[in-house]
């Protein structure tokens, strides 16, 4: 939903028109689109309700504090995944970082789109954050321009480089993607973390990190986190080092 909504806004931003034919959809899909607020966002009526949806949202401007509340209360705060308050705050910090990065230097002209879903039968909780900025491979190729020609840095290689600790694809004082704790939590939870940008992707699943390329090109960055809703209780422990931060 986040990707579809963003795509529609991108078409509109570029002067096109988008309309959805709501009538031909499966009734369960229609209900879900009403529940998560997607229909309301596209002026197709309906009043969203809580249910199993994490509401569809469009952030054309950065509102970090509101986004943090959204993550804390509407995504991780509903008891579907049993995490301690400290771990929840740490995961929210990671996701907020992804959100804030999308706004840095006006890279995504239409903002950031977010949506999620709880699947009770699959026992899964997912959240997707997508922006339509320049994408990770563009930044990596610029950063490495003095060492490599663009053709020598395929998208998968760029994703791999950006995912390494201590690397930075962003200007200013810089950053790495820095999802160490989130990756570790996903591994323990046996969940899934996926990031797509251009043709490249990185996937953390089944305790493995894999990089690759897909036949489709997407100029922007999409992050999807799927967590397993099991009976385990997760808290911060050894995943964070005790050594001084600097």
């Amino acid at each position: 939903m986040a990707f579809l909504g963003g795509l529609a806004r991108l078409v509109e931003y570029r002067g096109g028109k988008v309309s959805f034919n709501w009538d031909i959809q499966d009734s369960a899909v229609t209900m879900n689109l009403a529940q998560n607020g997607f229909k309301a966002a596209f002026r197709a009526g309906g009043h969203p309700w809580a249910g199993n949806s994490i509401p569809y949202r469009e952030d054309t401007r950065q509102d970090a504090h509101d986004f943090q509340r959204y993550l804390s209360e509407l995504w991780l705060g509903r008891g579907w995944v049993k995490v301690s308050a400290r771990l929840r705050d740490a995961i929210v910090g990671h996701m907020a970082e992804i959100y804030l990065n999308a706004f840095e230097h006006g890279q995504s002209p239409i903002g950031v789109f977010t949506c999620g879903q709880h699947f009770p039968r699959k026992r899964e909780l997912s959240l997707t954050i997508v922006d339509f900025g320049v994408g990770i491979p563009s930044n990596v190729r610029l950063f490495k321009a003095s060492e490599f020609a663009p053709e020598d840095l395929p998208a998968a290689k760029c994703m791999e480089w950006a995912f390494q600790r201590g690397t930075s694809t962003k200007p200013g004082i810089g950053r790495g993607i820095g999802l160490d704790l989130l990756r570790e939590f996903v591994r323990q939870n046996q969940g899934r973390l996926e990031m797509f940008s251009h043709e490249g992707y990185v996937r953390v699943a089944d305790g493995q990190v894999s990089f690759g390329e897909r036949p489709t090109f997407f100029e922007g960055t999409l992050v999807n986190v799927s967590l397993r809703c099991d009976e385990s209780y997760y808290c911060l422990a050894s995943e964070l080092s005790d050594k001084p931060p600097f």
Binding site: H65, H105, R175, P245
Partner: protein, 115 residues
């Protein structure tokens, strides 16, 4: 000098703007040679952008050893350690590795044109 971070910016330390507010509050004292204590008691959510402004930019004018010695972060929640460490590592490299800075500035310039 001691600053209560929660009182100044609240329990959420996420944005560059909030980090800048903290930086502005202690920077004159730090530049005057004082030891600065940042008390993070009561804070809970952290993003590296906050620390880039609050701490990272100190590395432009001060060495890492001096920052370690005179900027003390107390009651720092464990969730803050990773973004703070990453921010300081990146800042040190940015300000003291010309090749790294040149590469990052190249990205910055390109993005400024696109924006």
């Amino acid at each position: 000098m001691k600053i209560n971070v929660q009182q100044l910016v609240g329990d959420v330390c996420m944005t560059y703007e909030d980090g800048q507010r903290l930086h502005d509050a202690y920077r004159p004292a730090f530049d005057a040679g004082e030891t600065v204590e940042l008390d993070f008691a009561g804070t809970r959510i952290f993003v590296s952008q906050f620390f880039n402004a609050a701490v990272g930019q100190l590395l432009k004018d001060h060495g890492i050893d001096e920052v370690r010695r005179r900027l003390q972060c107390i009651n720092l929640p464990s969730a803050a350690k990773d973004p703070l460490r990453r921010s300081v590592e990146n800042a040190e490299r940015y300000y003291h590795d010309p090749k790294y800075r040149e590469a990052l500035d190249r990205v910055l310039e390109a993005q400024a044109v696109e924006a």
